[in-house]
């Protein structure tokens, strides 16, 4: 299936198990485990609630700007394969409810690929628990690949966030970095906002919004529904 994008964000329901996206801007949804080939420069936004696995294949010379919001209700696997001369800028936001495990696999199969994953994770309820394994795999005999993982979790109260950053490198010519931060609200930020007269609840809501919204385009922000999150 070949889908042609328009100048504005195209809303697409993907019905096949394998799809190809030509250059364009897409807001996608699907009802099964789905594979999408990215052919050219694609801006892809996806709001997921049902937990279908997604495979993205960046064909040679493809550029993918991915914005992915998952209101986590099931375990899920997201796999991204990069072939040759591709660029990936992935912004992944997970809002978890319950106890779940998410696997994100990024496979650099060819040469001269550049990938950055920015991940933001929160739990919705007090005792929710999420594990996110982010694995970057840089294949043997490849060269000039760059990978950066920027992974952050914000603990709201007594919930648990576990982020496992893995980078498996099977070649010498590579630049790979990962940054993982899991923590609560910054105490000095909270103090500052409170000295301006904000209640603790409002200060936390603003800081939470900041944490998540910076990682999401406008099309996806409306799905966050942060008002349901309890801090107390």
């Amino acid at each position: 299936m070949l889908l042609v994008g328009l100048k504005k964000m195209n809303k697409l329901l993907l019905v096949g198990v394998k799809n190809t996206l030509a250059p364009g801007n897409y807001l996608i949804s699907y009802k099964n485990k789905t594979t999408i080939d990215i052919d050219g420069e694609v801006n892809l936004a996806h709001y997921e609630t049902t937990g279908y696995d997604l495979n993205l294949n960046l064909l040679d010379n493809a550029i993918l700007n991915l914005n992915y919001l998952y209101i986590v209700s099931h375990d899920l696997k997201l796999t991204i394969n990069l072939n040759n001369n591709t660029t990936l800028d992935a912004h992944i936001t997970l809002v978890n409810e319950g106890s779940h495990k998410i696997e994100i696999n990024l496979n650099m199969l060819g040469n001269n690929n550049k990938a950055k994953i920015t991940l933001r994770v929160i739990n919705k309820n007090n005792h929710d628990n999420i594990t996110v394994a982010v694995t970057g795999n840089i294949a043997k005999n490849t060269c000039d690949n760059e990978l950066l993982e920027d992974l952050k979790g914000l603990i709201l109260k007594e919930d648990t966030i576990k982020i496992c950053p893995n980078i498996e490198v099977d070649t010498n010519e590579v630049i790979a970095n990962h940054l993982v931060t899991i923590g609560s609200f910054n105490k000095e930020d909270l103090f500052y906002l409170k000295t301006k007269g904000l209640s603790e609840l409002t200060a936390k809501k603003l800081l939470l919004k900041r944490f998540l919204i910076n990682n999401l385009p406008e099309d996806l922000q409306k799905h966050l529904k942060l008002e349901v999150i309890k801090f107390e």
Partner: protein
């Protein structure tokens, strides 16, 4: 009136303020000077009951015991803290912060048109580009821009008691003039009490009259008026600290 009596402040088991006493009346400007590391910034944050501090003694404002109040409640009494190094908060704009603060404080819906008009008026007063209203709080701003940016909140929140922790540090000559003139205008309009922590006299010339206290090792060792600030500028802290210590012996 702010009244601090026999105040001791510890952070991470280290004593920072020790038997600190200070009274600042309504409308009074009080200057706190002292060498680096003597606890000047600590007193500013202790007044706002910073959660990292273990505080014993009395800090009262208009009869309210600040040591038992949250920073939010203290702010809503009309106190304002301008920190030496204001935090940068990416993703929350000045307008968002100030609108939320006013809305919560007054428990009312903010008329957005009046709010924006007032913000624009204040930008004119403090010589701040109007675009700063919608910039993230102090994010990617120079030292001088941060201080002016904080003045935006100050003018909007209209506090009765202002704490300025080294507002003059990092300001070039022109920025100091703007900040000084803005504070003078605020003082003449609203007559707040002001606690100024500084090392220099430059910011003080915008205030006609003030008291000066010198802090050493967590306690005030000498108090005076404008002449004492002048003396510090000329002879340095060391000479005054030594003579101040002798005075107290």
């Amino acid at each position: 009136m702010l009244e601090i009596k026999q105040l001791n402040v510890k952070a991470e088991s280290k004593i920072i303020l020790n038997n600190f006493n200070l009274t600042i009346n309504d409308g009074e400007v009080h200057v706190l000077m002292g060498p680096n590391g003597t606890g000047k910034s600590t007193i500013c944050k202790a007044i706002f009951n910073h959660p990292d501090y273990e505080i014993t003694g009395k800090i009262e404002y208009d009869g309210h015991d600040l040591t038992k109040m949250t920073p939010t409640a203290i702010s809503r009494l009309g106190l304002f803290l301008l920190n030496q190094n204001p935090v940068e908060i990416e993703g929350i704009t000045n307008a968002e912060l100030i609108r939320s603060a006013l809305s919560e404080k007054n428990n009312t819906h903010i008329d957005i048109f009046k709010f924006n008009k007032r913000l624009n008026e204040i930008c004119e007063i403090i010589n701040l580009p109007k675009s700063f209203v919608h910039r993230d709080i102090n994010f990617n701003m120079s030292g001088g821009e941060k201080k002016k940016n904080e003045l935006l909140s100050l003018f909007m929140l209209e506090p009765k008691f202002i704490i300025l922790d080294e507002i003059d540090s990092g300001l070039d000559v022109d920025a100091l003039k703007v900040v000084g003139a803005s504070l003078k205008k605020y003082y003449e309009t609203y007559h707040p009490a002001i606690l100024i922590v500084t090392h220099h006299q430059d910011i003080l010339k915008y205030f006609p009259k003030y008291q000066v206290s010198i802090l050493k090792d967590g306690s005030i060792i000498k108090t005076g008026n404008e002449a004492l600030a002048q003396e510090i500028e000329t002879t340095g802290f060391e000479a005054n600290v030594i003579s101040g210590s002798k005075e107290n012996e």
